[in-house]
């Protein structure tokens, strides 16, 4: 049985899909940057500090899964014309990135100034 294609075009600019891809690129960037931070932290101090970077990798993975799931779900509200704004995800990613970049900056500062 072939799947029925949507008969109604509600999103000619593919905004919805582009936004899902932007979330996925961001999630992937979080994972890559987290791995780099984990490697750096482990190389300059005790290996347990790598856990901060690994946490970033895990959160990035979570965001990746959420983005795929959420944007599939969003077809319904978009067709119905309901609000699609979700500050919670933006806050999580924003806060995680602030914590991550702050930790990276402080670690590098401490390591470089104290040798």
């Amino acid at each position: 049985m072939t799947r029925q294609r949507p008969t109604e075009r509600f999103d000619v600019g593919l905004q919805h899909e582009r936004t899902a891809l932007a979330w996925e690129r961001t999630a992937f960037s979080m994972m890559v940057a987290g791995a780099i931070l984990a490697r750096y932290a482990a190389s300059v101090s005790h290996p347990t500090w790598a856990l901060v970077g690994l946490a970033q990798v895990a959160i990035g993975g979570g965001v990746m899964v959420w983005a795929g799931w959420h944007y599939d779900e969003l077809h319904g509200p978009l067709r119905a014309g309901n609000p699609v704004v979700h500050p919670t995800a933006a806050r999580l990613v924003g806060l995680t990135t602030v914590g991550f970049t702050g930790f990276g900056l402080i670690t590098a500062l401490v390591v470089i100034t104290l040798g």
């Binding site: 704004v85 990135t97 900056l105």
Partner: protein, 131 residues
């Protein structure tokens, strides 16, 4: 004073503005999603700067004098971008919901200048290193 634009108020509100969903009317969903993509692009910029900074410190520090300072500069830029990303998103969302012009921001200009300075400094360090 009833300042709903998010520009004033306490320090906490300045960093994390009020939830935009409580203000004004829902804009066209395309604008909501475009604002979201812009936020994500700033977050990726912060992550790329952090990766570049850690890379400069971790990989170049022993080979290139000054690489650590460059790396710290990139990490500082990264933190500034990350710390302002949510605020930017929320203020723009609020403006759209109130039908007001988007708030002006100096960050794109500052980032362009800072990136140019880092690139120039890296080029100078490289040339000096080769002498």
């Amino acid at each position: 004073m009833d300042d709903r634009s998010g520009h004033g108020g306490s320090l906490g509100r300045r960093i994390v503005p009020e939830d935009p969903r409580r203000i004004g009317e829902e804009p066209d969903y395309r604008f909501t999603l475009a604002n979201e993509r812009t936020f994500l692009a700033w977050i990726r910029t912060a992550l790329a700067l952090a990766a570049g900074g850690l890379g400069a410190i971790g990989l170049l520090a022993e080979e290139l004098a000054g690489a650590e300072a460059l790396g710290l500069g990139l990490l500082a830029m990264s933190f500034i971008v990350a710390a302002s990303a949510y605020r930017r998103w929320a203020l723009q969302e609020t403006s759209m919901r109130l039908g007001q012009p988007l708030p002006p921001s100096r960050l794109p200009g500052i980032m362009a200048a800072a990136t140019a300075i880092v690139a120039f400094a890296a080029a100078v360090l490289f040339v000096v290193d080769q002498l």
